[in-house]
């Protein structure tokens, strides 16, 4: 099953149940009492997902590890490598 198929399957199940609820094919007083909430549920979920995505991406961007030490170590090693290779007969242009 491809990821697309998994999503189509999951969303079909969700909307199957959702439609059954909003078209009142399933009847229960708890459902009737919360009808407005049920109706806007997809919208709420989309908004929540959006907030989750934006905060996660921003948080991870701002806390992205800055490898300054690795960069400085590399700079040193480049000089070391050049020196050693030159002593072994390598010409740098």
């Amino acid at each position: 099953m491809t990821k697309l198929n998994e999503w189509v399957f999951g969303l079909s199940v969700f909307f199957g149940i959702y439609m059954a609820l909003v078209t009142k094919r399933i009847k229960h007083e708890i459902i009737d009492d919360n009808m407005f909430f049920i109706q806007i549920l997809p919208l709420i979920l989309v908004v929540l997902l959006g907030i989750y995505a934006v905060t996660t991406v921003l948080y991870r961007t701002l806390t992205f590890n800055e490898c300054k030490d690795a960069a400085m170590e590399l700079q040193k090693e480049i000089l070391e490598a050049r020196k050693d290779l030159a002593s072994k007969g390598m010409k740098f242009t």
């Binding site: 491809t2 990821k3 697309l4 995505a53 996660t56 991406v57 921003l58 991870r60 961007t61 992205f64 590890n65 800055e66 490898c67 300054k68 690795a70 960069a71 590399l74 090693e77 480049i78 490598a81 050049r82 050693d84 290779l85 072994k88 007969g89 390598m90 010409k91 740098f92 242009t93």
Partner: protein, 239 residues
């Protein structure tokens, strides 16, 4: 270490400045850990004459350690790996960039982790643990994190760094993956790790520090982003 041999594939295109340094670093860290290895340089007829430098390195380190397997023209990264693999004599293949953004000091860690769990693949990751980057501005980091979030969300692979290309593979696993992959060029790496999940290969991860290239140009623009998005959706629909 044991008797296993590791073949390191280094695709190069205009890496005259970087090639001697990366080779020197590989030799330094792998000999320190007593690892049996060979370096396979796949140069696509670089105009800066990278091959001339490769030949000098062969003189210094010997032609059993450094193998130059060039191609006549710039044929892309995906086929460069296939070409390199066909010349590899190791039991394991390590793929890395030659531009010094992938530091060879991590290779012994890859090998150790692979041995411990007998993983099919060990992937370097910039997004976990002590992993990270250097030389990226806010915009570059944002694009990277955004792309990573989206691909994790849609594809749920078993690896946290899809677009990175610093990895160790069992040779047999790599040839199976290469056979299964359709794309060429840069997305090749991403397709391989996504297919690895679908083919039930086991994947281990080692956090790496990624120091963006100091010499030469790196490509990262609108066309790369569009390419990435197109491929992400394609893999989402087909794998």
């Amino acid at each position: 270490m044991g008797s296993e041999k590791y073949s390191i594939l280094l695709p190069t295109y205009n890496e005259r400045e970087n090639l001697p340094i990366i080779v020197w670093l590989i030799v330094k860290y792998l000999e320190e850990s007593k690892i049996n290895f060979e370096i396979i340089i796949i140069d696509d007829g670089s105009p800066d004459n990278t091959q001339e430098v490769a030949k000098e390195l062969i003189k210094i380190y010997g032609e059993d350690k450094i193998l130059l397997r060039p191609r006549a023209a710039k044929l892309g990264l995906g086929t460069a790996y296939i070409h390199g693999l066909s010349h590899a004599t190791g039991d394991f293949i390590i793929i890395m960039d030659a531009d010094l953004s992938h530091h060879p000091k991590f290779i012994p860690q890859f090998i150790e982790l692979q041995k411990k769990h007998n993983y099919d693949i060990v992937s370097g990751t910039r997004y976990k643990g002590d992993g990270g980057v250097y030389g990226w501005d806010f915009k570059r980091k944002l694009i990277s994190r955004g792309a990573n979030f989206l691909s994790q969300f849609l594809l749920r692979p078993k690896a946290s760094d899809l677009t990175g290309s610093f990895r160790l593979y069992k040779k047999e696993v790599l040839s199976q993956l290469i056979k299964a992959c359709e794309s060429k060029g840069y997305v090749f790496q991403m397709e391989m790790i996504v297919r690895a999940r679908a083919m039930n290969f086991t994947i281990g991860e080692v956090p790496i520090s990624f120091v963006d290239r100091l010499y030469g140009q790196s490509k990262m623009g609108a066309t790369e982003i569009i390419q990435f998005a197109k491929n992400l959706l394609y893999f989402f629909a087909t794998i």
